[in-house]
Amino acid sequence: MGSLDRTGRMGSFRKHLRVFACYYRLNLASALEYRASFFIQAFGMALSNSSFIFFWWIAFRQIGGSIAGYSFEDVLFIWAVSSCGYGLSTILFANVSSLTNLIVTGELDTYLLQPSSALLSVLCAKTSLSAYGDVAYGLILMVVFYAGNAGAWLWFVFGALALAAIFTAITLAAHTLTFYWGDASAVGKLAAEFAINFSIYPEKIYGPAVRAVMYSLIPTAIAVHVPLKLFHGFTPWTALAALGGAALYCVAAGAFFYRGLRRYESGNAIVTKT
């Protein structure tokens, strides 16, 4: 019985993976229909991110040493993780930020008619072109400043993947409120902005109350600041707690979505997929 369950789970996992891969290929193909736009957006995003690092370089030159306990290299590390994590989230799950619109216009119908996971299909059905620039930028920072540092790369990969999941979950949870409130697009935008701000500045510039939010309601600190701490001094319990916290948050966001889905009222707006 146990082995049958395992076979079933593996089959289901393989099916999800096949659908996920198919969505990714289609998204990329759709994006490449407009090649010029793709390259301009990706390059533009990398350039925009560079201006922030230039600002940090000036700030560290003026102040020197460290800012709120972070060195310039530490800031580069959290920027690399944030940029890559956010980029991965929006390359793979860009549709999460359209969730409010999908609910309000009744476009969720199309996903609910299919025998796949509604959440997986909704999340994967769109990509962001500029996000490729975010990922490239994060990788370039790591190559330039941490090229031969295996430890930095390990925690960078851990952080980027965890942030991609957590950022998606935060946005998902915020937009899911639309099932209850009618339109949570503003909350969704706000949550995404807070999530980004909590990721790209040294943790200690925020007061204790905000830091509590950074580890609970909008827990991007788990994926950005904790990996930096682990890079400086590894403790297995911290790593496990970060991993467990990230997984728990994502599962809770998914459960919240499915609970909200029961209240879905559909609609008859005329819509097409792009």
Binding site: A29, D109, L113, Q114, P115, S266, K273
Partner: protein, 271 residues
């Protein structure tokens, strides 16, 4: 065993009531008022395998809401519901494997990509192997005449070509039951006839049960043997299509199907 069986199926919504102007908007913000809307009111219906049923009613009658409950998209507020022996609310994903749907207002095709790419995604979703996908796409392409434009981005297709692709997409997994919600909306006469021919062919060759909503009287005349009329969320008529005139009280008047349906709707509105 019936393909579709509902007993006292009901769907109610809570809708916000707001007066006109800014003042009313501010009042609604502080003290919102709600009213209960009964979109579907105790509908009992049974559809046998292989039937082609016209499900008709004026705009806002509750047709789409009813179909969405049958597909598992919406949860009923009351009553009992069984589709292909399953409860759509509980078994939505399992049921989807055996059901196809075309909602005229919503597309399952990717606008910027050829329909062929959308078929590939749907094949993955419906768990078809590569060999099955190729065979099914080839077969549907031939039946629906998609060959010329299957590799053209959907945004560049005419409406008729697009609807042919939509219907083909809904049949990729060989559904036993097909929900068609206004599939011929906006199409020219020739394409409408082609789509109808394909639906009939499917029904005859595979025994596919078809549950169709349409505002086009020709769809009802040419496709369906049975008509179910719904108005204000309630069932008002369920009879063979050839008895619609008598039921509407216009038999012997030489009324067209359009006139007959209009008479039924007017009767419904008056009651």
């Amino acid at each position: 065993m019936p393909v579709i069986e509902t007993r006292g199926l009901t769907k109610t919504y809570r809708a916000k009531v707001k007066g006109e102007g800014l003042g009313a908007s501010v009042r609604a913000l502080v003290r919102p008022q709600w009213k209960r809307v009964e979109a579907v009111r105790g509908v009992s219906l049974s559809v046998e395998p292989g039937e082609i049923v016209a499900f008709i009613g004026p705009n806002g009658a509750g047709k789409s809401t009813f179909i969405k409950m049958l597909c598992g998209i919406l949860n009923p507020s009351g009553g009992e519901l069984s589709v292909l022996g399953m409860d759509p609310t509980r078994d939505r994903r399992k049921l989807s494997m055996r059901v196809g749907a075309v909602f005229g207002q919503k597309s399952q095709l990717w606008l910027h990509l050829p329909a062929l790419d959308s078929f590939t995604l749907l094949a993955a979703i419906y768990e078809l192997s590569d060999a099955q996908r190729k065979r099914k796409v080839g077969e549907l392409s031939e039946i629906f005449g998609l060959g010329e434009f299957i590799q053209t981005p959907v945004r560049k297709l005419s409406l008729g070509q697009r609807v042919r692709c939509e219907v083909a997409a809904s049949l990729l997994h060989d559904p036993e039951l097909l929900f068609l919600d206004e599939p011929t909306i906006g199409l020219d006469v020739v394409v409408k006839q082609a789509i109808r021919g394909l639906i009939i062919q499917r029904n005859r060759e595979r025994g596919t049960t078809v549950f169709l909503t349409s505002h086009d009287p020709s769809d009802i005349e040419n496709l369906c043997r049975r008509a179910v009329v719904i108005d204000h969320g309630g069932l008002v008529m369920d009879c063979p299509v050839e008895r619609l005139q008598a039921a509407a009280g216009v038999s012997g008047s030489g009324a067209s199907m359009e006139d007959t349906i209009a008479a039924i709707f007017r009767k419904g509105a008056a009651t």
